[in-house]
């Protein structure tokens, strides 16, 4: 049967078929090697998390495959009972959650204004946002540290949240403006003719239509704040 389909489907010569198979095979092999290389560091970390620190210091994580008896939940047990680690986890949530909410709310407000409200200087505000997109975080370290110190929020969760919200905003505003811009104009015109206020249009028309896209954009970058705040 296989011979049948082969002879019907492939009007190529045997040599061409072998070459085609080999070419395809090479692609497979290359991609498998790449995938393994990309997986090894993470797998190593995962396996290490199930080994004791003495094991990890003395031998590589791959030895665990030969001696599965090494594997233990010890690290996770001590993590759960360690108040400092739990506190850090709590802090991560305390920072990430408000930052995400603030960025989405403030960013979508501004994004709506920039895509649907006609006002003088709109393009300039947008250009300003694009300029700020590329500003390095480092520029703000010294003055913001001073500012937060005088406000008494230096080193506090509020300070970190505000800082990350500010530096997350340019991208969020830009993104929301593009998403909201894709909402059909007729819907807005109709609402305006019906006498709806800008706030009503924003909350009842644009936000519901644009939100799924907003949510997906945030979830994919939710590692962002956690990533940077821990080191800064």
């Amino acid at each position: 049967m296989t011979i049948d389909t082969g002879s019907v489907k492939a009007p190529r010569t045997l040599a061409q078929r072998i070459l085609g198979f080999l070419g395809h095979g090479v692609v497979h092999v290359v991609l498998i090697i790449v995938a393994v290389i990309w997986l090894v560091p993470t797998v190593g970390l995962l396996v290490s998390s199930f080994r004791t620190s003495t094991d990890s210091a003395g031998s590589g994580w791959w030895t665990a495959f030969l001696k599965p008896a090494q594997l233990t939940f010890e690290n996770y047990a001590s993590l759960v009972s360690d108040t400092a680690a739990l506190g850090a986890l709590g802090n991560s949530l305390l920072i990430t959650l408000p930052t995400t909410i603030l960025v989405v709310v403030i960013g979508s407000l501004a994004g709506y204004a920039l895509s649907w409200i006609e006002f003088r200087g709109r393009d300039w505000v947008l250009i300003g946002i694009i300029v700020l997109l590329a500003v390095p975080l480092q520029v703000a370290f010294i003055p913001v540290a001073g500012l937060f110190r005088s406000l008494g929020i230096f080193g506090s969760v509020i300070g970190v949240v505000l800082f990350h919200t500010a530096f997350g905003l340019p991208f969020a505003v830009f993104l929301m403006r593009n998403f909201f811009g894709q909402v059909p104009a007729e819907l807005l015109e109709a609402s305006r003719l019906d006498g709806a206020s800008e706030w009503r249009i924003f909350t009842r028309v644009v936000l519901p239509l644009g939100l799924p896209a907003v949510a997906s954009s945030r979830s994919s970058s939710s590692s962002g704040p956690g990533t940077t705040c821990s080191s800064r």
Partner: protein, 434 residues
């Protein structure tokens, strides 16, 4: 430009209300700091005006200059490597059924924080081949091609008629066929011999075309024994390569291995010629312990590799979304016209993707200029200066001990200047889209 919406008088008020939170935050925490930092960069550590001396320092001090140079390496290497890999991965993965799984695997590091990625890569590139996976592989591969020797670092007994040059131990005086040459060696690594290991014995008398001899460890554990003499339970060195080199030649006339009792017999020699008997350096080579990845020479390679590990997935996904938008009929037409896959890729796919590739490159260049986390985490203390970049140096100078906020401000303004071309490019692209 799309013109719509109410242009009534109230529009401006509404716009302000919607924009106010963003403008207040951006103004207070981004725009104001830029100006503050720009002005601060003209003052010294204690706050007195020094008119650009910080900028002179920046380009004359060795450590800041080094940081700037490393940033240049980063910008030249990392974005290109990431983009090329992303392009290759995206195009190749289109041709396999498990492309979603592949993309997931390569994109996954994007979901890991830079800090954790730093920790991961520091362990991958640990120098100890028993712990670091990179060196474990390097040592395995190396030993497969060049097995490590059994007796690294062995030295000739000083008063014996043998000498060590270029890592090889050879007889000092010329040897004729029919003679016997002994090799008493010392400084064999502790733990090489165990109790009950074979003992060296005297080699049999050589025939007219032979040279014989014994190779042994001229040291008795716990003392005793006569130097240069066999006996007293001295251990033999087994499977050591022995060569007979005709005088003035480097090509062996005969080769032999020592047996369990350290004895060797070189045969087939010419009775009239003088030879040098040599134990080649391969017997005494130090074992290969892996590459010092985290050392100053290679640290930048390692940190850039870890960056590529994280960001190649981003590039791949961006290129992938670009691929879905390109005109498939062109590819088909080219294939029908007899173009091979490489021609299709280089003449049609890549040119069509050019706008996407530019966006990726600009994004990555901005990102790389600001690189901080990986460089802060991966290099161990001794390699930190070799890996330093502007963002880390700025941090060190202003907070991490330096406490010179003037120089720190100057560094961050320099960073801003470096990002300017990318900003201008972005604004131009934005305006041309209108």
């Amino acid at each position: 430009m799309r013109r719509r919406g109410s242009s009534s008088n109230s529009a401006g008020k509404f716009a302000m209300a919607f924009l106010a939170p963003a403008i207040v935050l951006l103004g207070a925490l981004v725009v104001y700091p830029i100006f503050y930092t720009a002005i601060r960069s003209l003052f010294d550590a204690r706050g007195s005006f020094n008119a650009g001396a910080n900028y002179v320092d920046m380009f004359t001090q060795a450590d800041t200059l080094g940081a700037i140079l490393h940033n240049i390496i980063w910008v030249l290497v990392a974005p290109i490597v990431c983009t090329v890999l992303g392009l290759v991965f995206a195009v190749l993965s289109e041709r396999v059924k498990w492309k979603t799984a592949f993309k997931l695997i390569v994109f996954m590091p994007m979901a890991i924080s830079m800090l954790a990625a730093g920790v991961i890569f520091r362990s991958v590139f640990q120098e100890n081949p028993k712990v670091g996976v990179a060196n474990a592989i390097a040592v395995t591969v190396h030993d497969a091609f060049a097995p490590s020797s059994s007796y690294p670092g062995a030295q000739p007994r000083p008063n014996a008629d043998i000498v060590k040059t270029d890592g090889a131990v050879r007889s000092k005086s010329a040897v004729q066929a029919g003679e016997t040459v002994d090799f008493p060696l010392v400084a064999i690594q502790a733990g090489t011999f165990e109790k009950g290991d074979p003992v060296a014995t005297k080699a049999p008398a050589a025939k007219a075309t032979q040279i014989t001899g014994t190779v042994w460890s001229d040291f008795v554990l716990g003392g005793g024994g006569t130097p240069n003499q066999l006996g007293d339970g001295k251990n033999s060195l087994i499977r050591v390569t022995v060569e007979a080199l005709p005088a003035g030649s480097t090509k062996a006339a005969a080769t032999a291995l020592t047996d369990d009792h350290g004895r060797f017999t070189l045969s087939g020699l010419d009775p009239g010629t003088s030879y040098t008997v040599e134990l080649p350096s391969s017997n005494f080579r130090e074992p290969f312990n892996g590459v010092p990845w985290l050392g100053p020479q290679l640290i930048n390679v390692v940190v850039i590799l870890s960056y590529v590990w994280i960001w190649a997935g981003f590039c791949m996904v961006m290129v992938g979304s670009g691929l879905t938008a390109i005109d498939r009929s062109l590819l088909e037409a080219a294939r029908t016209d007899g173009a091979n896959e490489w021609q299709v890729f280089s003449r049609i796919t890549v040119p069509q993707l050019a706008p996407v590739l530019v966006v990726i490159l600009v994004t990555l260049i901005i990102n790389v200029l600001k690189i901080f986390d990986l460089v802060y985490v991966i290099p161990p203390g001794t390699s930190k200066p070799a890996a330093n970049v502007i963002a880390v140096q700025m941090w060190n100078v202003s907070f991490g001990g330096g406490n010179d906020q003037g120089l720190g401000s100057a560094l961050s303004i320099f960073l801003l200047v470096l990002v300017l071309p990318a900003i201008i490019l972005n604004v131009r692209r934005f305006r041309s889209q209108r």
